[in-house]
């Protein structure tokens, strides 16, 4: 099973995602240039963090028109697992592959630090290795991470159990103190209805080695490996 890391002009966590998959998960991985329409036979896709097209106009607004995004949409439609991290999440939102939008952080400043997120759903290819309510220590690094959605959309998200992660305090309270960017209901990550496309603002690929303070991000990436292995067997 092979991972693909999509590279947009301005992606800057592409090498980090590649490193996590190749050297920590020890899975085959390949870069996919945004101009290419082919997906090189990849079984799972990661849209990495960064500033695709400089975040000009609006985060992800230009990247969603890249040729590769048509193939990503088709791949997703066919049930292939797609994970958007930070800017990758923003692109998936702009592309309409995930519900909602992100706005400027409530503090109006870029924030880079470790946060805690709680796993809200475990029945997805991105969280099946976690136990329900597990608290993960994973860093964020963004300007625009304030997740928002209209009431109706939120109700639907809740109903379909599409909220995968919420920001919490270290001891698991999802109150204002645990919310770094003003996100609606502390939402840190969501998936689509089919549960095969997910996005989150925190960076699991930055938390895969204990030498770098936390390896909690492995839960998410290992879930993907497990899901793919399961799918291959079935």
């Amino acid at each position: 099973m092979k991972f693909g890391v999509v590279v947009f002009p301005g992606s800057n966590c592409d090498h980090d995602a590649f490193h996590a998959v190749a050297n920590v998960l020890r899975q085959p991985v390949e870069f996919l240039w945004h101009q290419s329409e082919g997906l090189a036979g990849c079984d799972a896709l990661i849209l990495p963090g960064g500033f695709a097209h400089g975040d000009y106009l609006r985060t992800g607004a230009i990247a969603r028109f890249s040729p590769v995004m048509k193939s990503v949409a088709k791949f997703a439609e066919a049930g292939g697992p797609v994970l958007g991290i930070c800017n990758g999440f923003q692109i998936l939102l702009e592309a309409g592959l995930l519900p909602g939008a992100v706005m400027r952080n409530s503090g109006l400043r870029y924030i880079c630090r470790y946060v805690h997120i709680r796993v809200e759903q475990t029945e997805t290819p991105f969280t099946n290795a976690a136990h329900a309510g597990q608290i993960l220590k994973i860093p964020i690094a963004h300007n625009d991470g304030c997740y928002t959605l209209d009431e109706e959309g939120l109700a639907e998200l809740e109903r379909n159990r599409q909220i995968l992660f919420r920001y919490t305090t270290a001891d698991g309270k999802n109150d204002a103190a645990g919310n770094p960017n003003g996100s609606l209901h502390n939402i840190a990550g969501v998936c689509n209805r089919q549960r095969n496309v997910a996005g989150l603002m925190p960076h699991p690929e930055r938390a895969v080695e204990s030498a770098l303070d936390s390896a909690d991000g492995l839960v998410i990436l290992n879930s993907m490996v497990g899901a793919l292995a399961g799918a291959a067997k079935a």
Partner: protein, 783 residues
């Protein structure tokens, strides 16, 4: 200055407006054998500006040690390069962007970071870390404390205006620094933020970048091979930044300085990210002969320096240069400092391989000329020659000045000018709390959280975690072991004002000590020399003294200077900043897993105070220059702590040995704020742990202030598991470093310090942490 067409007749007056003296213009005429036209005058004026030509500093810079076993490339290229083993090299350099950051804080700081990153990847190295050494004017009313001999700050009303301006500058600079590194995708892992009255209208923004490459992949900027095409790549040329180097960076500020805003460049980190990837990819084709970034003095400097270094000539046609605006004159195109541009020389016949890479990344790449023999820099505009100058004399035969030096005449201080004491226990705790909340000492988390400190997933020690910033080198992995590089920038302007020679030594010693405390071996240094006007004998004396101090310290500590820059004319309305040499020291850690951090780790661990020195007692004169004295007593005077380079070297070697043996749980040097602050920071970095220590007067002398807040160098605090104390003491003995057990780590999360039998500090770590951690954002009244 009004922009001009080539038809303007150049006179001595016009040359003077360009910052060239009569003698300098005569030299121009001699080199050309005729009068210059206006475009040529513009070219000479930027190339011979203080910023580009180092005309006042050259004679002194020669004294710096620049050679060493590990030095692959010393000063003179885009960045210094050192060997870090296993076929890998590190390229690093620090550079100032002070003047632009005052005039337009966001863009000034933004392009400062952009410029230094370009210097690194121009060498073929991929940038892996940024550090920023920042100096601002006071952001609190009690921050206006300077030596009596320094031109005093005016009244409180003026100070209030200054505070508001300083906060605005700080915010812009931080956002500018953050924006560039975050978007470009290189972690900002360290640096310092200091506050002194002298930086009120002249902030210092010194940016350091570090990159790595395989040794054989290093590129130099030498135009070789007559007939090879010269290719312009990157952003289009616009009218921004014209005369940034000559009129902005090479003149002091007056009341009209705000009008220099058009001289500031505008940054676009996204384009630079594309440029980075495209350049590194293009270099892999093997078709690139030389490459040089267009920074200060833009197209002028890149063409001239490449030709001069290569011993060739260059001819370019301006009509082919991609332009953002219409109607630009040759003068404007040659002097534009538009950012994110590169000039490269490719092998003839292989242009398309290079051009294709840039096309892939969506960047302009155009053949604008070719390498010629004859040594001329010839600029054409639609076939017409608009400038023709011998490249080598232009680059290398500019004026060099041996400017007069004059030690400042200051009234001799007496004991009455120095700190006098008498604080008791409760008062000392109160002073300690105030010190922890002082902008100089308080946590910089509010600032560093605006930086992406983790991208590239190599950051082993983010800001504040260790005495130095530490990044691992994934490419060096061998049998599961990776190397890491450690970096620290330091420079105490206050000390350098009081004694530039000793102050400069402290800058080197502290940076090297920080690197060693993280477990790494210091191997090389880079310097950014921020001074006032070189036309003042006092400033040149300070400069010369500082160079001597740097030389002595770098030689003693084995850290040759591999590059850097000089920033003169840091003056506003006639008063010079404190002389502020900022030193970045690079160290290498053979095993990244052996990195040492400052946080204490386990209750029961023994705390040792290590001292490489002769345990000389502190004096009132030395203590008067301390952060405590400035913040608590509201006075600055005396001398920096005496420097003992032998002691520093012993301590450095000892710290490296301790880390190598994994003998210590934590290490933190004693610096700003003294031992009490060192201990507090080691608790703040930990979770639910405190320390209890007992100090006496036998090492530091009386009173208690010396023991708690004295800043004498060559000292560090380590915490050690009880079972390893004997092993640690064996190492310290071997290194000639005194070690004394002063206490232990406690579970009760109190910070308790006893001095001569009485308790002088006793406070919950959480209470102190709250003051220290939130002081900056509370001061700035932000969320």
């Amino acid at each position: 200055m009004a922009t001009a067409s080539t038809e303007i007749k150049v006179t001595a007056e016009i040359a003077a407006e360009h910052g060239l003296t009569g003698e300098e213009y005569a030299r121009v005429q001699k080199i050309l054998g005729r009068d210059a036209n206006i475009t040529e005058l513009g070219i000479f004026s930027v190339m011979w500006s203080e910023h580009c030509s180092y005309k006042s500093s050259k004679v002194h810079l020669k004294r710096l040690p620049t050679r060493g076993k590990v030095v692959v490339q010393g000063p003179g290229e885009n960045a210094g390069v050192v060997d870090i083993g296993d076929g890998l090299v590190a390229a690093f350099k620090i550079e100032s962007h002070n003047h632009p950051s005052f005039v337009e804080p966001f863009q000034g700081a933004n392009t400062g970071v952009g410029g230094i990153l370009r210097d690194i990847f121009t060498m073929g190295a991929r940038p892996i870390a940024i550090l920023d050494s920042l100096r601002f004017g006071p952001i609190t009313a009690d921050g206006f404390v300077a030596p009596k001999s320094y031109p005093a700050a005016a009244d409180t009303a003026t100070n209030a205006t200054a505070i508001a301006a300083n906060r605005r500058i700080l915010d812009g600079v931080i956002r500018g620094v953050a924006n560039y590194g975050n978007c470009f995708g290189v972690p900002t892992v360290g640096g310092e933020v200091c506050f002194e009255p002298c930086y009120s209208q002249n902030p210092l923004v010194n940016a350091l970048a570090l990159g790595i490459a395989r040794k054989e992949d290093i590129f130099l900027a030498k135009a070789k091979g007559v007939g090879n095409p010269v290719i312009y790549v990157g952003a289009k040329t616009g009218r921004d930044g014209i005369h940034g180097a000559s009129l902005l960076a090479s003149a002091e500020f007056t009341e009209e300085s705000q009008q220099k805003r058009p001289n500031v460049q505008v940054g676009d980190p996204f384009v630079e990210k594309l440029l980075l990837e495209a350049c590194l990819e293009a270099m892999q084709t093997g078709a690139i002969v030389a490459i040089q970034d267009m920074g200060a003095a833009g197209l002028t400097c890149s063409t001239t320096e490449m030709a001069s270094r290569g011993g060739t000539g260059i001819e370019i046609d301006l009509a082919k240069v991609p332009q953002r605006e219409t109607g630009m004159t040759p003068y404007e195109i040659m002097l534009s400092e538009s950012q994110e541009r590169m000039l490269l020389v490719a092998q003839r016949g292989r242009e398309s391989e290079v051009l294709d890479v840039f096309k892939k990344w969506g960047l302009d790449a155009v053949v604008v000329g070719e390498v010629k023999d004859g040594g001329l820099m010839r600029v054409k505009d639609r076939g017409r020659v608009v400038a023709e100058i011998p490249a080598h004399p232009l680059a290398e035969e500019g004026p060099v000045y041996q400017r007069p030096l004059g030690a400042p005449v200051r009234r001799a201080e007496t004991a009455a000018d120095w700190f006098a004491f008498g604080a008791a226990g409760a008062e000392l705790t109160e002073h300690f709390v105030k010190l922890l909340s002082a902008p100089a000492i308080a946590s910089k988390r509010w600032i560093t959280e605006q930086y992406d400190t983790m991208v590239r997933t190599n950051t082993l020690a983010a800001p504040g975690a260790s005495d130095a910033a530490v990044v691992r080198i994934k490419e060096s992995e061998k049998n599961g072991v990776m190397r890491a590089l450690a970096l620290s920038t330091d420079g105490n302007g206050r000390w350098c004002y009081l004694n530039p020679r000793v102050g400069a030594m402290h800058a080197v010693a502290e940076a090297a000590r920080n690197v060693a405390c993280s477990g790494a071996r210091p191997i090389a240094a880079t310097n950014c020399l921020n001074f006032g006007s070189p036309e003042k004998p006092e400033v040149m004396w300070q400069f010369s003294e500082a160079i001597d101090g740097l030389t002595e310290a770098c030689e003693a500590l084995g850290t040759p200077i591999t590059g850097g820059n000089v920033s003169f004319y840091n003056e506003t309305l006639g008063s010079s900043i404190y002389p502020t040499p900022v030193i970045g020291v690079l160290g290498i850690l053979d095993d990244a897993a052996k990195v040492v951090k400052i946080a204490v780790r386990a209750a029961g661990d023994v705390i040792l105070l290590l001292d490489g020195g002769s345990r000389q007692k502190h004096s009132a004169q030395e203590f008067s220059s301390s952060e405590y004295c400035k913040t608590i007593a509201g006075m600055v005077g005396g001398e920096p702590p005496a420097m003992d380079l032998g002691a520093e070297k012993r301590l450095i070697d000892c710290m490296i040995a301790l880390a190598g043996e994994r003998a210590v749980q934590s290490a933190h040097d004693v610096s700003d704020g003294g031992l009490a602050v060192t201990l507090a920071e080691s608790c703040f970095a930990a979770k639910n742990l405190g320390v209890e220590v007992t100090l006496g007067s036998d090492e530091t002398g009386t009173p208690a202030e010396y023991a708690l807040f004295g800043e004498r160098g060559a000292r560090a605090v380590v915490s050690v598991g009880p079972e390893k104390v004997a092993a640690v003491l064996a190492i310290t003995r071997q290194c000639g470093v005194a070690a004394r057990a002063i206490g232990h780590v406690t579970q009760n999360a109190d910070l308790r310090i006893q001095y001569e039998g009485s308790t002088v500090v006793d406070s919950a770590v959480e209470t102190l942490r709250d003051v220290w951690a939130h002081s900056l954002e509370r001061t700035l009244r932000v969320q």
